[in-house]
Symmetry: C2
Subunit: 424 residues, 2 copies
Amino acid sequence: MPTAIPTDKAYAWEQDAHDNLAPLRGEFVVDDPNLIYLDGNSLGRLCLRTANRTREVVEREWGQRLIRAWNEGWFDLPARIGAKIAQLIGAGAEEVVVADSTSVSLFKLAVAALDVQANRPTILTDDLNFPSDLYVLQGAADHLGNAQQVRILPSSDGIHGPSDALMAAIDENTALVALSLTTFKSAFTYDMAAITRKAHEHGALVLWDLSHAAGVLSLDLNAAGADLAVGCTYKYLNGGPGAPAFLFVRRGLQGKLRNPIPGWFGQHKPFDFDLVYRPAIGIGRFLTGTPPILSLAAMEPGIDLLLEARIDAVRAKSLQQTEYLISLWEQILAPLGFTLNSPRNGALRGSHVSLGHEDGLRIDRALIEEMQVLPDFRYPDNIRLGIAPLYTSFADIWEAVDRLRLVVTQRLFEKYPAKPPAVT
Amino acid sequence: MPTAIPTDKAYAWEQDAHDNLAPLRGEFVVDDPNLIYLDGNSLGRLCLRTANRTREVVEREWGQRLIRAWNEGWFDLPARIGAKIAQLIGAGAEEVVVADSTSVSLFKLAVAALDVQANRPTILTDDLNFPSDLYVLQGAADHLGNAQQVRILPSSDGIHGPSDALMAAIDENTALVALSLTTFKSAFTYDMAAITRKAHEHGALVLWDLSHAAGVLSLDLNAAGADLAVGCTYKYLNGGPGAPAFLFVRRGLQGKLRNPIPGWFGQHKPFDFDLVYRPAIGIGRFLTGTPPILSLAAMEPGIDLLLEARIDAVRAKSLQQTEYLISLWEQILAPLGFTLNSPRNGALRGSHVSLGHEDGLRIDRALIEEMQVLPDFRYPDNIRLGIAPLYTSFADIWEAVDRLRLVVTQRLFEKYPAKPPAVT
């Protein structure tokens, strides 16, 4: 439990000075030294290499090589980048591809799973799951017409996922367990191996959304026996706004599952133009249409950087930094009325820390407008502070806490109405 | 019927000199004066403005504005670009959005349509349709479990769509007619208004794939009473490799159809994070996940250019150029064994011309490797020459024909095996 960590800025500087990953910040565009960016879990920063790669793909590959560029690398991008992401999540190179949005990818895998579990009536999830995932699961269930029902287990405290209730609910009626491994509000993180084991004992499949976990947790999908997963690439993978998602299908399942949106990129031989669909062997069958190449290509340098940093070191720094933030919260912000809306236990926590406050929304506004801190806000009262260890410094964290303190002690939030901004 | 058009290069130059659209070629990256690019119907060229726009969206918006850029324009991109595409296809501004791949978009609209036509057993299409569309239609039919069947009408000559058979087949059993307006091999183009009228008389819906038509035909979806459409943006719209597709839903249908992949971008108020999906009012409900912003943003300048050129002028030039090409074929290439695999009648033809030859594949290879001409090839024997009037010159067409002539008269193709390249 993090206590007695010094609260002076010199301590933060000292931590940065001893941080082996600190030099990686220089790999990113950080143009405004006064801006504290704690929203890398919504949109990761731009790598310098990515800016170069994007120019190359647009100006040289598209502009000069034109259609030839498809054979000179573009066709391979979904699988090549998938294989790199696989290394970050403990999967095999031929178990991951990148193509569509997270929601579309989730839909494909959910329908594919429900299809082979048609005799089982229940899809288990929780109310901490990202709402879009719930919509997609409902859409998948509706469409198959198998009378499968989505059951949303309630979390008891809004912070921790209902692990015990979930374990108890998994039985022979369970078609699919579909959860965010790290939940978007509190960063509560499930035990992948335990849930997978329990699900498999009862013949259920598990589909993980790794959006808030990939690139910042030490994941080992293969060791956990994971079946299916999807995840964002624009958060900790720094892939760029709306960059396509990855999807993972365990090798042994690939041949058993059907892509519900069969398209030419998942066809065995797309350029034969057969009128009848024959799925590709392997993970490629889960591709559908032509993927957005600019967004795909822009994703690769950020992933390379994570591989160079090594994910275990990233997770270690993330834990150290969230502990540091929680310690500062405890000593400085808790007395000002802030609550900790994330798990205190590091083993149960991803890489963001949510702080609640009865004036949370107004404080969030003031923090952005007056204080040059960019957190995220999630209703009803979560000021979500995202730690991206590749570029977040200990000094950033100290500054964010200090500016939060100023907003409250100087009542800077009072000029903002207690009403949501258009979008945060 | 195009005859007696002079076959000398001076005539081509003269046509270019009198072409009001000729200056637009200067808006594109054309770095290799010897390269004849006739594959703009697979991948449109890069506009200079697009290169600038891409730098801006990556380096300034993502790099510097970070998450704030979502509120400074990114959220509006699917609808804003959709509204511009609407102007190119004769649709209302609030009837078009851009988001997912063509195949995923087609899936969404096909399932949505079949869902409301569940009591009708037949989906009508043809064997000239893009195979991926057939896979998607089959996928859509399979998933609903309504026992709806895809019926693929055969074309009689492989060039012209089976219009008469189609008109005769549309009846009270028809749930959906789904066709490529302009077919990918021959460029045969259906009569949108007539088919829509017939379908509506019998209570059927029509879903058009406009991939080879948008940006080069004068379309008027509203005048034709069109129900549903999707289309590529990386062909004549010059949106960039794999740029997301647009989808169109007639205003009166929007409230009646359900997006089968409900996600947060189609939610009424996405940032309320309700656990229950409530679709947005209007076309926005057909969005699903976070769209790939780099690929979306890169699409806009090419569309702007088409709007500036005016689509009627683009179509007029396209017709003039395909007629010119056919006239050169008739006088120069037909005697060398080339067949015309596209409609002779301009009213039935899109903007590419396919030429067949018994040594087609080898000729295609030689054309690319020896002659610096980039056409496309589609089995079994279609050398597909795409005319993109914004940058294709009459001199390009003359050169392509002349180099085709040289490949055959000098037997330059003989060193290439009669075996497919990996991908064309």
